[in-house]
Subunit: 354 residues, 2 copies
Amino acid sequence: MAENQVLVNHDDLQSFVSALFEKTGVPKEDANFFAQSLVNINLWGIDSHGVLRVPIYTKRLQAGSCNPNPEIKTLKSAITLEVLHGDDGPGQIVGRVAMERAIEIAKEYNVGIVGAVRSNHFGAAATFTRMAVKEGMLGVAMTNVVQNVVAPGGSKPVIGNNPFSIAVPTYGDFPFVLDISLSAVAGGKLLLASKKGEKIPFGWGTDKDGHPTDDPTEAFNGFLLPVGGHKGLGLAYAVEIMTGLLSGGVFLDAMKGMYKYPEDPSLTSHLMMAINISAIMEPAEQKERMAEFTDKIHESPMWDESKEMLLPGEIEHRTMLKRQEEGVPLPQNLYEELVALAESLGVETTLSKK
Amino acid sequence: MAENQVLVNHDDLQSFVSALFEKTGVPKEDANFFAQSLVNINLWGIDSHGVLRVPIYTKRLQAGSCNPNPEIKTLKSAITLEVLHGDDGPGQIVGRVAMERAIEIAKEYNVGIVGAVRSNHFGAAATFTRMAVKEGMLGVAMTNVVQNVVAPGGSKPVIGNNPFSIAVPTYGDFPFVLDISLSAVAGGKLLLASKKGEKIPFGWGTDKDGHPTDDPTEAFNGFLLPVGGHKGLGLAYAVEIMTGLLSGGVFLDAMKGMYKYPEDPSLTSHLMMAINISAIMEPAEQKERMAEFTDKIHESPMWDESKEMLLPGEIEHRTMLKRQEEGVPLPQNLYEELVALAESLGVETTLSKK
């Protein structure tokens, strides 16, 4: 274990974070789901989107810019298509309601597509696509985020790195789960390279004027580039259109960054889709075919024989098993920040080190 | 005009190619659509997927590996979801029937998703998503292709660069049309760099053993890399799952490359989706919001002020207007190949230079 981190039990972490959220006015059951979604993200190893965000979420819940107890309503409704008004609630809660509704619709019509407007940051998109998988469905989830990606040749950010997830049941050890943002890399990768004094590829980021750079410090203070140039850029536009634009929410510069405007609702939009695959293929056949697919990928040769060819979702599954056993690692300063936050809120649940 | 190319009128080209296809046994109306789809692709400027493919398509139609007159049947049918059997017909014809059916379903249920198995190369995915746009719908089209992309670290191709398109009506001068393959670049770009003696970025391709290279000749003789590393790889897997795997077709190494196995059906699968957006947002509002989106992108500043920020589909629109006026440029040797092909088939329609 690294010197400057502590290990905590994942169930303890869930109870602790849930108690924090409850103290800000989130109803118990919502607080449980919200906290569990963040702990799951840490269990999958995506530490940038897990409990690291508890301080900003709590700050926003207290400020009311994120409504702890939203009244989520149906704004628009047609066969197979709906749009919800999230009442500025936490993205995790609004997203959950939207995906639950998409699944419900798909039980009747085999496909359900539900948009949501007036939401906030929803954590990881896989939170929702995995809900569909649990019901034996293919799930798609996407969200818009504040403009943070510069188009190749542009001098300021034009689009968010709009995350996108798709998950498919395998009926095996782990589902197929792809969860990606549409920038080449996350900002954290630039920071890491900067700290290590390493150069970065020119496709990762730009300086403050939009010029591609191989200097990670310049890039960290500049802008992200889309994954694969115009390809990722086009996909990010498509996600923006399918979330903010066609759901009737706001888009592009009308969004508000959650860190920059902690007092304001983020005006985030999501889109959730569930497809009931079993209507055209029995689960047993799906299982068999997904196993064949998985085996073929696993057996594909690597030039470094010590490496393995893994499926999307597989490394998350392995990390989860390890962290459920050994504990979730938290940076020491994050641990201290969470404990101090609990004290300041008068939360009695404690967070023991493992 | 470059010295080694000729210009032809797009309508003449369409009639000429259509006559070629008809001669191989494709029914007149199908031949017209098939030829028009290829000429459109040339009009959009995507010369790698247009009439350049007529010789291989014709060869396969004559061999019967591509069935000129397929009996396309419904294999599976449920509310909103269907799968067609393409009877080894041209991908353009099978794809058209699948998208027409998706649109028909979406007229009733607002969403239609139609898979197709036992098809062949379908040209450009945008052919089909633009069909949805013409009906005021959002269209999605995807296909699997033979394994031609190596996973980072892999030593042989594991997945195809599975093309994906999404198009959205704008009710303006041109629709939003994204059409991308999931390799970093097409093979043609490697060949071009090789001919120019230029180095390529390490993310584009690998040598024959799967090692990333900046030598375009090595890469051209090696393998393509996925766009954005694991992100594009995961998307390509997702497309494979949604096409070949869940439609009940073949996938991965069971596919047959159209050039390598000209005598065998390619066993390609497609997926088409149409969403009737107007069920939740009036066309007038869609138009207004898409125009606002377009304006905001157009107005985003570039660091080279002589450059413009264009939307996906915009450059294709401009190229189309230009080529409709000035003619479609064909490399001299392709022009000669097409003329010789027509002669050998006894086609009477001629292809005049403009």
